[in-house]
Symmetry: C2
Subunit: 280 residues, 2 copies
DNA sequence: TTGACGTTTGACCAACTGGTCATTAGTATA
DNA sequence: TATACTAATGACCAGTTGGTCAAACGTCAA
């Protein structure tokens, strides 16, 4: 594991345990077993460290959630899978989730707050499209209201899971959440929220990735070694993106390889977005 | 306004705006327009300041909520009043609410966390009794599950209100919350949470206040001047508590005076608890 | 005017913060 | 072995933190 990776992991642990503000760089370096100077070889600043942590994890989250929601299944199976995926990610990356929870409530920095809101909006968008599939007759206002309610439920259940040392029965929790979602989605009659009040700034197509952005991401990834299959995928992807109209069949195959390998999850998400755009 | 009061108010504002950790004592003293030494004449430490802020507000909150839930009305009117009261308190004390939100997520101190959980549990208890009145056939598990769900909804709507600059229509939000509560309360079939998982440590009677505790609170209050009626109420209350069995009729009258005057709200709550105990 | 007494000040403290950089250690090549 | 390179160190910096305390201030009665 690279030095940078080591620092990242120690930092997340400390951030989760003591809070971000309360964790000093000396604290991190001592726990990692390196000198202060070494830290600044890997990260430009404490803020930079926090940003990298958020990027690393949230990109995975977004890609994973997006895949679950876009897998061709019945809508209610998808809903179940969504909750499952969410809770599993929570358990798997509990330290990050704890850190995320506090940063979300009180961000040390405007820029970081925006970053969080950006990823949050991407996930919201996935959930929203799922709701529109589940309850086709819903108005936009209904969907937004449901979205917020479900987020509230997920958040409080997540908090319980994270901060309560218990062998949790996630499949049971999923059942409970699905039931509540269906109840609220089918029978709610009064609504308060509107689109502008929750501001999901990512709904416009202006946010869709361009091929050049994807090329940048690939270049970044190629700075490190990856399995044969992945390296090959990069090459094919580059070629396919040269075309005026990249062929969906090809992209989908590549997507399959990329989503299955953690470091390229975000790339897979970007490819998928391109894909759906050409679709429309 | 006393110097202490001035400091408290400035501190809450700063805590709400910049976060608790990020706000230094120098920051507070400069904003209040006093010297550092003067701060330490009113508070023993920064931690002490935070504790006092929490106590001041949460005692009011608990008393106000408890009154709403125990007013003799139809259960669904109570529910509506509960949400109303909650949202109004939120708007009225927005700065404290913001501070509370962050401290709840990541407390700088174990002792403060316990304090927060204590007051939280008191409010939970009020809500729980209301649910049991609304849905008499519910099992304990159902009630707990509903409690957590509603708390999740309240929290996310609160967050929207607090951090979104909008002229919010609280009566509309109350409608929405009432509808969702009724939906979830009446039709939920699957449950996950149990009493021990949310641990409401205040349910046992061991937590009920003793008359001697009340005497201490009165003494504390009498260090400052209060309206004639209140001073008189103190005297009558003292006498009544001397009796083997304080008379409900008298206590209820006194309660009416105490709940209406902010500094004695907490005392009114304690008196009410004594009252209901002798009841049972 | 004096002196006594509580209030208020702000320079001062040690500890710690995020961040820098001359120096050193380690390693690969010639 | 000598050279050239990067990787790593930790003393050091200026600034800030929560907290203290001798000294100055204000306000009385004598």
């Amino acid at each position: 594991m690279s030095k940078k990776q080591q620092i990242l992991e120690t930092a997340i642990q400390l951030f989760a345990e003591y809070g971000i503000e309360a964790t000093s760089i000396q604290h991190i370096t001592k726990s990692t077993g390196i000198s202060k100077g070494a830290f600044y070889l890997s990260f430009a600043s404490k803020e930079d460290l926090i940003k990298e942590i958020i990027d690393t994890f949230m990109k995975q989250f977004v890609a994973d959630i997006d895949r679950v929601v876009n897998t061709p299944l019945l809508a209610d199976e998808k809903l179940q899978n969504y909750f499952s995926a969410h809770l599993n990610l929570l358990e798997k990356h509990a330290d990050f989730a704890k850190m995320y929870a506090q940063e979300q409530m009180y961000s040390i920095n405007e820029e970081i707050l925006e970053k969080l809101m950006y990823y949050d909006a991407l996930i919201d968008r996935s959930l929203l499209s799922l709701f529109q599939e589940l309850f086709p007759l819903q108005t936009e206002q209904q969907a937004i209201d449901l979205l917020v309610s479900i987020k509230g439920l997920i958040r409080i259940y997540s908090q319980l899971i994270l901060f309560h040392p218990y062998p949790h029965d996630t499949t049971r929790i999923v059942e409970v959440l699905v039931e509540k979602t269906m109840l609220l989605g089918e029978h709610s009659k009064t609504f308060y929220l509107t689109m502008e009040m929750v501001k999901l700034p990512v709904t416009s197509e202006s946010q869709l990735p361009t091929t050049s952005q994807i090329h940048v991401v690939i270049e970044e990834l190629q700075k490190e070694r990856h399995p044969e299959l992945i390296e090959e995928t990069f090459e094919v992807l580059r070629e396919e993106l040269q075309r005026e109209h990249p062929r969906q069949a090809v992209l989908q195959g590549l997507y399959g390889h990329l989503i299955a390998y953690t470091p390229t999850k975000w790339l897979s998400y970007l490819v998928k977005q391109i894909d759906t755009k050409k679709d429309a």
